[in-house]
């Protein structure tokens, strides 16, 4: 069973067609990167397949669960949304406690201590979320998504607002996740990071998948980087207005 299976997915907002027949398969244990320019449809695709938005047509399954069942999906996956917005008047520690209590996780204190330490948030544990910096909020959102150690992580611009040290730390953690046989699906437009970690990639443009495969498969010549692959794929697509 694939970790993610998307079949001919369409989504529009009024007259704006955002997804146009997207089809993808992500196998278990893959680190899959979805690239696209701003407004290409990455976030909408992530929101549709996790049931945060309904599709106009098409199907999507996450760990075999249809995207029309968002509660079941949210129970088994970890999702990092694009915009960080933890609860205003809870502290960092309390936010993680809330997530643990809702997910009914055992060993809550150990889990919380582990992630506070991982993201160096110990001295911010008792600070209200509204008073955290953008980077600290992003770390908290990441910790909230990782705390139940899900088999599948769906990340939307996970590296945004993180300094280079934590970008590297997060990258290493994600590599470890994939080595354990778990799956990561990451939407991003930061190609340098993706190039270092993704085992397979797809390029989305104008709501369509215009290229997909492993990086060597997508290379047209030796030494071609992801940036060149991305630009070629986008320029080569002739999407309708």
């Amino acid at each position: 069973m694939p970790a993610i299976e998307i079949k001919n997915l369409y989504k529009s907002f009024g007259t704006l067609q955002v997804l146009r027949g997207v089809s993808l398969k992500v196998a278990e244990g893959e680190f899959f990167g979805l690239f696209g320019a701003n407004g290409a449809g990455k976030t909408t695709l992530l929101r549709v397949i996790t049931g945060q938005l309904s599709a106009d047509s098409g199907e999507a399954y996450i760990a075999g669960i249809p995207c029309t069942n968002p509660m079941s999906i949210k129970r088994v996956v970890g999702i990092v949304p694009e915009a960080e917005s933890p609860p205003t008047f809870l502290t960092t520690r309390e936010t993680l406690e809330l997530v643990c209590r809702i997910r009914r996780l055992e060993g809550m204190p150990d889990r919380i201590d582990k992630w506070l330490k991982f993201f160096d948030l110990n001295d911010k544990a008792d600070v209200l979320c509204r008073d955290l910096s953008k980077g600290q909020k992003q770390k908290l959102i990441l910790a909230s998504a990782f705390i139940h150690e899900p088999k599948l992580l769906l990340l939307d611009e996970a590296f945004i607002n993180l300094d280079p040290i934590y970008q590297r730390q997060l990258r290493e953690y994600m590599k470890g996740v994939v080595e354990e046989g778990r799956t990561i699906f990451m939407c991003t437009h930061i190609l340098e990071i993706a190039e270092k970690v993704c085992t397979r990639v797809a390029v989305i443009d104008g709501g369509r998948i215009v290229a997909q495969g492993t990086i060597p498969e997508l290379r047209m010549k030796e030494g071609e980087g992801l940036e060149e692959i991305f630009i070629r794929a986008v320029e080569g697509s002739n999407h309708e207005p």
Binding site: K74, S85, T88, T91, E97, L98, I102, D126
Partner: protein
């Protein structure tokens, strides 16, 4: 800034609601002005003027209080991106100056939004009630100065605790003493506190001047006491979530969400505001009934069961307040549904209001000497509270501020709520004449309301299952 205020109003109560408000004021004022000859037969002019000025003073206090409350709401909803109030962080302007401008903006906005429609409503009645244009204009002036005094006082009182909590407490005590000296002790005259009202007794302009000076003085005190806040403070709190989670074990699977809601209300300082707002609305219902009985001389006996029946209506505002205070979008990524959060908010609503409801009904029972009717009245208060809030939650979910004012929602709300509540209120009025028959009507209506409440609460899941926590998109 006026444009920003208009957009804020629209975002809180919707475009239609915002647009209709001045029309509502105009219509109500015209109606009151037209029926004023009837009113003046049973109540003298000085009492009408006194009541009008007191009402407007409270309106000013409410608007001034809403300024600080609105800031906390915006801060919760938008984090630190608090529009113009956050200007001092990015531009060379003091917070004090921004607050002063903000205060003037509020005054200008409410002058246009409320007082001009109010005056126009009064003008419409000139040909029918024998008052002059000058009289209406002067009434507008004295009311507006009173409004500014209320707003200024509220502004000063909200800034005072930041400088000195004992000072703030002493000021409130002093104000209570002054009010008690005016009523019931009658040692000072009401117009010696409500200065613009004095104009109507001797037509001297110094009453207006002293009112204006007092309003300016209050506003200046408020502005000077405002803390400069160039830097954001990182506020630390000891861990409390788990202890609240344990305390609310009665709510079963909802307890983490109830604990979160309660903790957020407590830390944002909104518990007092929510309870106070609910209590003020209940008191306003009592004041209105007093006006109908004593002002209009209506031969109706509003007993304690009648007031119990009215309690539910006031719950709509409190529930709306609870749903409007916060963005919930982060809940989209954890296993929580809209229905669960709605139910958690309903639990918090009952935690906040139950004590006030019981106290209110009990107090009215005592005041009216209707102790024997108290059990029935308390049961009806509980029933209408549950019913009206269940209907509101079912129809509007977590978006009461905007959805409630949609025409379709309002019609459905009225269709759900008006028949059983009307039956209960009519039944309460029959009690002195035929207790048995009244009880039959009330019990039938209450039973209907309870059964429907259970059905609506059970259907919350179905109703909101396709909706996400996003404030902008419908997922259907």
């Amino acid at each position: 800034m006026i444009k920003e205020e208009w957009r804020l109003q629209k975002s809180l109560i919707g475009g239609l609601g915002s647009g209709l408000f001045p029309l509502l004021i105009f219509g109500l004022t015209a109606f009151c002005a037209l029926i004023s000859p009837l009113l003046l037969k049973s109540i003298d002019v000085s009492t009408v003027l006194l009541l009008l000025h007191i009402a407007i003073l409270f309106y000013g206090l409410f608007v001034g209080g809403l300024g600080s409350l609105g800031e906390s709401i915006m801060t919760r909803r938008l984090g630190q991106v608090n529009m113009l109030l956050q200007l001092p962080q990015t531009l060379p302007v003091s917070f004090r100056r921004v607050m002063a401008i903000f205060y003037l903006k509020d005054a200008s906005f409410y002058l246009i939004y409320t007082f001009i429609p109010l005056l126009l409503g009064g003008v419409l009645a000139i040909p029918y009630v024998g008052v002059t244009m000058r009289g209406i204009a002067m009434l507008g002036v004295t009311l507006f100065i009173t409004f500014m005094m209320g707003m200024g006082l509220s502004f000063a009182l909200s800034a005072l605790p930041g400088k000195s909590r004992p000072g703030s407490l002493l000021t409130v005590l002093l104000l209570i003493v002054l009010c008690l000296l005016a009523y019931p002790f009658k040692i000072i005259k009401p117009y010696q506190l409500l200065l613009p009202l004095g104009y109507w007794f001797d037509r001297q302009l110094y009453w207006l001047a002293s009112g204006i000076l007092t309003a300016i003085l209050f506003a200046m005190i408020g502005t000077l006491l405002v803390k400069e806040r160039y830097e954001l403070q990182a506020r630390k709190y000891e861990e409390s979530f788990l202890s609240f989670d344990r305390k609310f074990s009665i709510f079963g699977g909802l307890r983490p969400l109830v604990a979160k809601e309660w903790l957020e209300l407590e830390r944002s300082g909104s518990i007092g505001s929510a309870i106070g707002m609910y209590a003020i609305h209940l008191i306003a219902v009592y004041a209105l009934s007093w006006l109908f009985q004593n002002g209009f001389g209506m031969p109706l006996d509003f007993n304690v069961v009648f007031f119990g029946g009215f309690v539910g209506f006031m719950g709509v505002l409190t529930y709306s307040f609870l749903t409007g205070m916060e963005q919930n979008e982060y809940l989209n990524v954890i296993p929580v549904t809209v229905e669960m959060v709605v139910k958690a908010k309903l639990c918090v609503y009952f935690l906040l209001t139950s004590g006030v409801t019981v106290g209110y009904v009990f107090l009215i029972g005592l005041l009216k000497g209707e102790i024997t009717l108290l059990p029935l009245s308390l049961a009806i208060a509980a029933c209408t509270s549950i019913y009206v809030v269940a209907v509101t939650a079912y129809l509007t979910g977590l978006w009461t501020n905007t959805m409630f004012f949609g025409a379709g929602t309002m019609i459905r709300f009225a269709a759900f709520v008006v028949p059983p509540i009307t039956a209960i209120e009519v039944g309460s009025l029959i009690i002195p004449y035929n207790f048995g028959f009244a009880l039959e009507i009330i019990a039938t209506a209450a039973m209907f309301a309870i059964i429907l409440s259970i059905i609506l609460l059970r259907r919350l899941d179905k109703k909101w299952s396709r909706r996400t926590f996003s404030s902008t998109s419908f997922n259907s």
